[in-house]
């Protein structure tokens, strides 16, 4: 991927995000409604009332597995401090199901409910791992560059570029 997503994707996301989480409730609701509306429409052939972002407003809703991600593997000591007991909001299952179905070549291929939940865990782990490694890259970059000014602490595309090859190999 080119830096700053220059020539890469025609994809224009609807929302510039990533302000500190605290002040995000109202925006969260609005965007949630919008996005889920869109996806619902496109999933209409599925089970009708798909909701793309069901749990988005209460992050503590999911009670499943707490901290076992901490048991996860090797290296990178700095990763430890990053993963706490807070469950991140899960990726909506309907969305994931749709993405998977689009990926299947054979229309007849299905996926069981339990398998679906494990895929959710897999993707969630992928995302969290990407974020954790990006923080690590950023730390290293800023250590090298010294003062970063107002950009300090902002994860950059170049951080992702550095970690992506290994991340994809690891998953």
């Amino acid at each position: 991927m080119p830096p700053k997503g220059a020539s890469h994707a025609p994809f224009k996301p609807p929302r510039p995000v990533a302000k500190p989480a605290a002040a995000s409730t109202s925006r969260t609701k609005a965007t949630s409604a919008r996005t889920s509306g869109g996806v619902t429409k496109s999933t209409a052939k599925g089970k009708g009332k798909a909701r793309a972002a069901p749990a988005s407003d209460d992050e503590n809703a999911s009670s499943t597995e707490g901290s076992e991600i901490e048991e996860q593997e090797e290296v990178r000591p700095a990763r430890r401090g990053i993963v706490d007991d807070d469950e991140p909001p899960p990726i909506p299952e309907k969305l994931l199901a749709r993405l998977l179905r689009d990926g299947f070549e054979d229309e007849g291929t299905k996926i069981g409910a339990e398998a679906m939940s494990v895929v959710g865990k897999y993707v969630e782990t992928f995302v969290r791992e990407a974020i954790a490694r990006a923080m690590e890259e950023r730390r290293a970059a800023e250590r090298e560059a010294g003062d970063m000014g107002p950009d300090a602490g902002f994860l950059q595309v170049e951080d992702l570029e550095k970690l992506a090859p290994q991340l994809v190999l690891d998953f």
């Binding site: 996005t35 909001p89 993405l99």
Partner: protein, 108 residues
């Protein structure tokens, strides 16, 4: 992959973008980090692609076993090269099964 309607694809990516943005928010909330919108967009692309590849793998695993329905064992195969990840997913499966009540034996 069958070609999907670009409009749908864009909607799906928007939804995924949103979900990932939330995960980033919740993950970075307790740190001094933040993410640029470009970062979130790029991560969204990466995850989108990863899911597409995972779907093809899962389908192939199920087919190889003579099934048309992907089951948990197929998903665990995804993580076969990463012990830590496999252990994590196995733990997740077992925990889920324990929660739903033991005694079902190994479900296929």
């Amino acid at each position: 992959m069958p070609p999907i309607n670009p409009e749908d694809e864009e909607r799906l990516k928007s939804a995924l973008w949103f979900a990932i943005g939330q995960i980033i928010d919740s993950t970075t909330a307790s740190t001094s980090f933040n993410a640029t919108p470009q970062f979130i967009g790029a991560l969204t692309e990466l995850v989108y692609t990863q899911i597409a590849f995972a779907a093809r793998d899962l389908e192939a695993f199920a087919k190889h076993a003579g099934r048309t329905t992907v089951n948990v064992d197929d998903v665990l195969l995804l993580a076969r090269r990463n012990e830590g990840l496999e252990g994590l997913l196995r733990g997740f499966v077992e925990e889920g099964r324990a929660k739903r009540g033991v005694g079902k034996g190994r479900r296929k």
